[in-house]
Symmetry: C2
Subunit: 157 residues, 2 copies
DNA sequence: GTTCCTTATATAAGTTGCTTATGCAGATGC
DNA sequence: GCATCTGCATAAGCAACTTATATAAGGAAC
């Protein structure tokens, strides 16, 4: 508690408020009608592949916090459904690069469309005075996500 | 990085950006070391009970988007672990009200503490110019969560 | 290049958490 | 008072995870 902090105490309170607000928000945001019998983790993998390009199985396992065999099994299933492809990694012949297919990308984009529709309905009920600060916070929120990835990189080394 | 001039329909673009930003944010936010063999849905139920008070099994099932037997089984397990209690509903003797115990609440608060620690580390790396807009957006974000609950109420009737 | 350790993936077997189907008891409507 | 609905429990099956282990390629050391 007496550890030196780069921020005065008021910031601490705000972080706590940010946390609980985001806990609520996250729960609302995740809750979506189940799509095509795909599990939560599966959808997250598709999202990762769509957003960050082809990945190794081990990278996916680490990112999703599940075991490597779980990813192997999931990718096998997704492959049979035509949502991803396994391709050899030219730089390492033990490894596999999982690529998303157009059909897989369509699922990710469909879900995003659902969320956009949902948020459009909600934000449409905000006054301009409420809406403006959310838009203003977007770059900083993206920066937080970026910092999180950096932090994880640092911890891995 | 060059933003177009603010136009009347600029909100549409912002909602899409908000959606993708929150998709990323959500994935970062959820990823937490596994606590005490409790599943994602289980933790969500504990969070609901801690935040909104005692609930019926059917209400929990609806809120978590899982089947009623799934909640019955989960609550039975949580009861044996001392994290929740089943009490009769005085207004309906078929029904059960699930109450969270102090031990259950401790788990929810522990996870919040972990998230606060994580976000404290991240936000500590932000400049004050980046941090301020996030704090400024908090009331509006809470308002969005509130609107979501209203909307769900309306749809239920 | 041979040996040894590490890394990337696959397979096997078991466990857990969900599902649908069904039953029962109390509430509700006429 | 009877029929129907609602809230919960139980049973059986399935899907998605787990740990343990196997296989094969990469990399370092000598």
């Amino acid at each position: 508690m007496t550890e030196p902090r780069p921020r005065p105490q008021a910031g601490e309170v705000s972080v706590a408020e940010l946390t609980s607000t985001l806990e609520e928000f996250t729960r609302m945001f995740i809750r979506l009608p189940k799509v095509q019998r795909l599990s939560f983790t599966t959808l997250s993998v598709l999202h990762t592949l769509a957003g960050r390009g082809p990945q190794r199985l081990t990278a996916l396992a680490a990112g999703e916090q599940v075991s490597q065999p779980a990813i192997t099994q999931m990718v096998t299933k997704l492959q049979h459904e035509g949502l991803v492809e396994r391709r050899p990694d030219p730089s390492d012949s033990r490894a596999v690069l999982v690529h998303i297919t157009p059909a897989g990308r369509a699922i990710v984009e469909g879900r995003r469309a659902d969320r956009i529709a949902h948020l459009t309905e909600l934000t449409g009920r905000l006054t301009p005075e409420e809406w403006a600060p959310i838009v203003a916070a977007l770059p900083a929120l993206r920066r937080l996500v970026e910092l999180d990835r950096q932090l994880e990189q640092e911890k891995r080394s």
